[in-house]
């Protein structure tokens, strides 16, 4: 059969093969670039979450020192926030535990009621704002992580190792349930 083919047929087959190859190549590079972009997003959201966690711990520490809550609560709060601030490894389990613990302590040491000074009110609002931001940031980060993992999970992506040596991003989970939705 093939022997009947003239140069025209070969040219057509060649062109089709070339087009197919180009299409596959384009798709692969498109996906690889996409994975890279998603990884960049994950870095960004993790950095933002980190920043908000630091801010929350600082705010909690200042509440413990300045806000005039009872000394037992203040001690708990100060200890928990100091522990949250004291981690060199980015997302070790110890750090996540410390953050969960801080959330719990903040939840238990309800903010002082009654009249406060303007500065105290300001500190409490700041702590609350930081808590809200931590919740949002963790949510956005985990969303970016799950999108990335979804794309990385495709068979073709895994088989061709399109993600290179990049580590699979992990969702960040800890108890951040404070403040509760109104």
């Amino acid at each position: 059969m093939i022997s009947d083919w003239g140069p025209l047929e070969f040219a057509i087959i060649g062109a089709v093969l070339l087009a197919l190859l180009l299409a596959v190549g384009w798709y692969l590079s498109y996906t690889a670039v996409r994975i890279d972009r998603l990884h960049h997003r994950v870095i960004g959201t993790a950095a933002a979450l980190d920043a908000q966690l630091v801010r929350r711990a600082e705010a909690a520490l200042e509440v413990a020192y300045v806000a005039g809550i009872d000394p037992a609560s203040a001690t708990l709060l100060a200890a928990a926030s100091a522990q949250a601030l004291d981690h060199d490894e980015p997302w070790s389990q110890e750090r996540l535990d410390a953050e969960s613990q801080l959330t719990e302590v903040i939840r238990l040491t309800e903010s002082p009621t009654g009249e406060h000074l303007v500065e105290v009110a300001e500190l409490l609002t700041r702590l609350q704002g930081a808590g809200e931001r931590v919740k949002l940031a963790r949510r956005f980060h985990n969303e970016a992580v799950s999108e990335t993992r979804q794309v990385r999970g495709h068979r073709l992506v895994r088989a061709l190792r399109l993600a290179g040596s990049a580590r699979v991003p992990l969702p960040i989970n800890f108890d951040d349930d404070w403040p509760r939705e109104a």
């Binding site: 972009r37 997003r41 960004g44 959201t45 933002a48 580590r167």
Partner: protein
């Protein structure tokens, strides 16, 4: 924070998205952020100082309606130049799926991106076809905001992903007139605002209800304000009610506030296509008793505390019944007025803006900048990163991106 806002629609024509962006920019600047807005605009229009024009927009048919959009290689270059010049910490794009500036900025973006989805629509064939072009950009969006539940659903159906719902804002204070305009409780002045020749704004429903209302409220007075072809609508009025309807044409902001403040009832008979009822919030801020059709967007604005009355969409009989009930009962008017004012505060920019700021903080970190102008250095760094960074480097999640700014006494205590 240095924030870049991108508006896909022409800034010189009025529209919900444009107004939202202008108000948001005002709020953010007031809060001490550095803000620049990129928007299409005609060469000779006057723009607020923080708006940068990306050139003129051309009317294009896209996804079922005509929109004025800006696109093309020259515009794309301008977007890139704007990004390079300002070196933002964060980009906030509006309607990123519209093939205009937002999409261009999204492609070029190298910093965290927040996107707001305003529209709610059901047609999605066009968007599905455009998916491969949209996806690379959508992957870059770190946080999505929808202005309402229906906008959220539209977005979820088209592009997937979850969102934070943050409603549109109103500067409630601008709609409080003080005491100079007081509605006459004995009068029966009804107000309709909006593009009245557009059927989905629902003027026909209101007009159909008028004969029924007038039969019981003889001194009924209807004021219709907004752009549209007056003579065309006037022809459709029946003789019974022709003399009680007045068309005011386009009104200024101040006139609008006065009109709303002096109303015995504000009617929003819209029949669909509303993603968010900003006009309801304005009417409520001005203290107008609201009667609105039971659209999801409207009931969401009114809340469940009785800040306004609703009737089934398109049902002119039910509307007439509600109108009679409100117009004949000054006590109920007063109650509605008070409840509406309270409810409107939930949409004040002080609240809405703070939530948007929280979203900003949760995805972007304000970068430390060396004294003087470091734009060039940052850009250079960004370029080397883009070209040389192996993907491997991309995954470790560096903690030390942020300078820990712990106050000194705390630092000392921590260092013990």
């Amino acid at each position: 924070m240095r924030i870049g806002l991108v508006c896909p629609y022409s800034f010189d024509v009025p529209g919900g998205v444009q107004l939202h962006i202008r108000d948001l920019a005002d709020y953010l600047i007031d809060r001490g952020h550095e803000v620049s807005v990129l928007a299409p605009a005609e060469e000779d229009t006057e723009l607020p100082s923080y708006v940068v024009s990306a050139g003129r927009a051309v009317p294009v048919r896209y996804n079922g309606s005509v929109a004025r959009l800006a696109f093309g290689p020259i515009v794309a270059n301008r977007v890139q130049a704007w990004l390079d010049k300002h070196d933002f910490d964060l980009l906030h794009l509006h309607e990123p799926a519209a093939p205009s500036l937002s999409l261009l900025a999204l492609w070029a973006a190298e910093v965290p991106v927040v996107a707001t989805f305003h529209s709610s629509q059901t047609r999605s064939v066009a968007l599905r076809a455009a998916q491969p072009m949209l996806q690379p950009g959508l992957d870059k969006i770190s946080a999505r905001i929808a202005v309402s539940e229906s906008a959220h659903r539209t977005m979820a159906a088209h592009v997937g992903g979850s969102t934070v719902v943050v409603p549109n804002g109103v500067y409630v204070q601008r709609f409080c007139t003080g005491t100079d305009v007081v509605p006459d409780p004995g009068a029966a002045r009804v107000v309709f605002l909006g593009r009245f020749d557009e059927p989905r704004k629902g003027l026909p429903v209101l007009l159909a209800a008028l004969p029924l209302v007038r039969a019981q409220v003889p001194d009924l007075e209807v004021l219709v304000a907004g752009p549209g072809d007056i003579s065309e609508v006037q022809e459709t009025l029946s003789g019974q009610v022709a003399d009680c309807v007045r068309f005011l044409g386009l009104v200024s902001e101040e006139e609008k506030v006065e009109l709303l403040a002096g109303a015995n009832a504000y009617i929003a008979p819209n029949t669909g296509g509303e993603s968010f009822g900003i006009i309801l919030v304005e009417a409520m801020s001005a203290g107008a008793p609201v009667i609105a059709s039971e659209l999801e967007a409207f009931t969401a604005v009114l809340g469940d505390q009785g800040a306004g009355r609703v009737f089934p969409v398109g049902d002119h009989r039910a509307l007439a019944a509600e109108m009679v009930r409100v117009l004949e009962d000054p006590v109920e008017q007063e109650r509605l007025r008070a409840a509406a004012r309270v409810r409107a505060l939930a949409f004040d920019w002080s609240r809405v803006g703070a939530r948007i700021e929280a979203v900003y903080d949760s995805v972007a970190v304000e970068r430390e900048r060396a004294a003087g102008d470091s734009v060039g250095k940052h850009r250079e760094a960004a370029e080397t990163r883009a070209w040389t960074a192996p993907i491997a480097a991309a995954v470790s999640t560096p903690r030390a991106v942020v300078n820990r700014r712990v106050s000194r006494p705390l630092r000392r205590w921590l260092d013990r």
